[in-house]
């Protein structure tokens, strides 16, 4: 997929299993929207094939459209249309739409049903966009940055709805640049950057292994030479970094052996741990390790 001489998405091999929530995660400009819009039939790929529910999004567009739900990034409604009026209108284009009052209620839109679209808050516009995407009871919904700019409550409401959709048999494909969103919500995550897939798997597969940190804080100052003796006990594949005279950081595989060794060492030194924090590797670290850049730049 190219715009001019800039390649937005290149050789992206991406499979979505039915009945799952799949997140396409990546920084701004990674090619997430382009990927989604190619699946929705808005863009024609210059190379490669795209199939959604076995259909070609361009050639079989008319057969495909009733079966998918689309939430665009930004607007997509008449500025003068009232929120419920807009939702009811989209509902009327479908054969078996959901009850729009129920849907609005679920998404916390009942208070602003009579408000013209242009006067809805950003979060309300987002939720209305999501409602419009699911009202036709689609088999697959594509949601582009569903919670961008939402307050925490609206975010949780949106996550709950997407999870319920999946549980009821809808396939959800979402793009996001929030790693916590992908980690909490998705069954499968595809991390893309510069239009290419850089990692793919379940949240667990992606965050398993690799480096983790243990932050140890004790009740009274360590004896002299403490970091060195812990380093000796743990061996060379683990790094011990002193932070202060009552705390230190252990970086390495946070497995049973490491933890047991740290605990035994505390006993030998006669210090009592006040807190022992395990920092699990998260998607942010995965992205950082692969690209050398922060995800949310």
């Amino acid at each position: 997929m190219r715009y001019g001489d800039k390649t937005a998405v290149d050789a992206l091999d991406l499979r979505v299993e039915r009945n799952t929530i799949t997140a396409v995660l990546g920084p701004n400009g990674a090619g997430k929207t382009t990927t989604l819009e190619t699946c929705e039939g808005y863009r024609r790929p210059q190379a490669g094939t795209v199939r959604v529910l076995g259909l070609d999004p361009i050639k079989d567009r008319r057969d495909l459209l009733p079966r998918i739900g689309v939430m665009l990034q930004g607007s997509g409604a008449w500025s003068g249309a009232r929120a419920m009026e807009m939702l009811n209108h989209i509902a009327k284009l479908h054969a078996h739409p959901l009850d729009t009052a129920m849907l609005a209620d679920r998404l916390g839109l009942h208070d602003c049903g009579k408000t013209p679209y242009r006067r809805l808050s950003g979060g309300q516009q987002q939720r209305l966009g999501l409602a419009m995407a699911v009202v036709g009871r689609p088999e697959v919904v594509f949601v582009d940055e569903p919670t961008a700019g939402m307050d925490p409550l609206a975010r949780r409401t949106t996550w709950e709805l997407l999870t319920e959709l999946r549980d009821d048999g809808v396939t959800v494909v979402l793009t996001t640049h929030y790693m916590d969103e992908a980690e909490r919500l998705a069954d499968h995550i595809h991390i893309i950057d510069h239009g290419q897939m850089i990692a793919s798997g379940t949240p667990l597969e992606l965050t398993r292994g690799g480096t983790a940190t243990i932050r140890l804080v004790v009740t009274k100052p360590f004896p002299d030479g403490a970091p060195a003796s812990l380093q000796a006990a743990l061996g060379p594949q683990v790094e011990v970094t002193p932070i202060s005279d009552v705390s230190l950081l252990v970086t390495g595989p946070a497995d049973h052996t490491t933890l047991a060794t740290v605990a035994r060492w505390c006993e030998e030194q006669g210090v009592l741990p006040e807190s022992l924090n395990l920092g699990q590797r998260n998607l942010e670290d995965v992205f950082l390790e692969i690209t050398g850049r922060e995800l949310e730049a």
Binding site: R62, L65, L72, K92, L93, H94, D168, G169
Partner: protein, 257 residues
């Protein structure tokens, strides 16, 4: 599975989709203050003001002012809706991604177009009702007979086709703000100098040129129908020509997004 969201996809029957789209667009058009001004208020002012002015100024009209001016005011109403309102509404639909969003709905492109045409007719019906009521109250006495109604309707259809295709042409090429400005400017110019309200014969030297404009052709067609109960054919052909030209150019240049 039988959850709330269990998939049950499908399109509504096409006719129902088009009807929903028409009602929605007509409602939005009539809700908008500026559009209502254009659709009803200005034509009523032109009608009342024109009849008053004719008492003091000689426009060279062959009939009573109310009989001579009402057909042209109806033509003006058609022009305002089919050209200006449609262009502005479509321009902003493109800007706000409405057309893109509807492009992912079961409503096909030609259904969207049919919906727009339906909305135009609904608004025009409303305009004709209001303007006729005002005109009759002022003593309007159109040519009697059923053929007058049919010919008037024919002029309205052809005028709508010509102006709507031109309105979409403007909206499909220019940005929303530029469309707003251009559609209003062209409307004002045609209202003043396009032989729509006043007959071409009132414009002196331009008498033979103006009937070739869509505004002049629609005005003359309306006057032929409602004053004489007659269809001369020439205006109808001119309107059809503009409709074909507008449609071809729009089909080539229109960008949905």
């Amino acid at each position: 599975m039988s959850g709330t969201f269990t998939p049950m996809p499908g399109s509504a029957p096409l006719l129902r989709q088009v009807a929903a789209q028409s009602v929605m667009e007509a409602r939005l058009m009539l809700r908008n203050g500026e559009q209502l001004l254009l659709a009803v208020v200005i034509p009523v002012i032109v009608l009342v003001g024109g009849v008053e002015a004719a008492k003091h100024v000689d426009f060279g009209l062959d009939q009573r002012p109310i009989d001579a001016l009402t057909p042209g005011v109806l033509a003006l109403a058609v022009m305002s809706t089919a050209f200006t309102s449609l262009a502005i509404a479509t321009g902003f639909e493109r800007r706000y991604g409405v057309i893109k969003r509807l492009g992912a709905s079961p409503l096909p492109r030609f259904g969207l177009l049919a919906g727009k045409i339906g909305a135009l007719f609904m608004v025009e019906l409303f305009q004709v009702a209001v303007l006729s009521a005002v005109a009759f109250a002022m003593g309007w006495d159109p040519h009697a007979g059923f053929e007058t109604v049919l010919l008037g309707l024919e002029a309205l259809l052809l005028g709508t086709a010509a102006f709507a295709s031109l309105g979409l042409l403007v909206a499909g090429v220019l940005r929303a703000e530029a469309t707003l400005a251009a559609a209003n400017l062209i409307y004002l110019l045609l209202m003043a100098g396009g032989a729509v309200v006043l007959p071409a014969s009132a414009y002196g030297g331009a008498e033979h040129v103006l009937p070739w404009l869509p505004s002049g052709a629609l005005g003359e067609a309306m006057r032929g129908a409602l004053i004489h109960g007659d269809c001369y054919g020439q205006q109808q052909v001119i309107l059809l020509g503009w409709a074909v030209l507008g449609t071809v150019l729009t089909a080539r240049s229109f960008r949905w997004e």
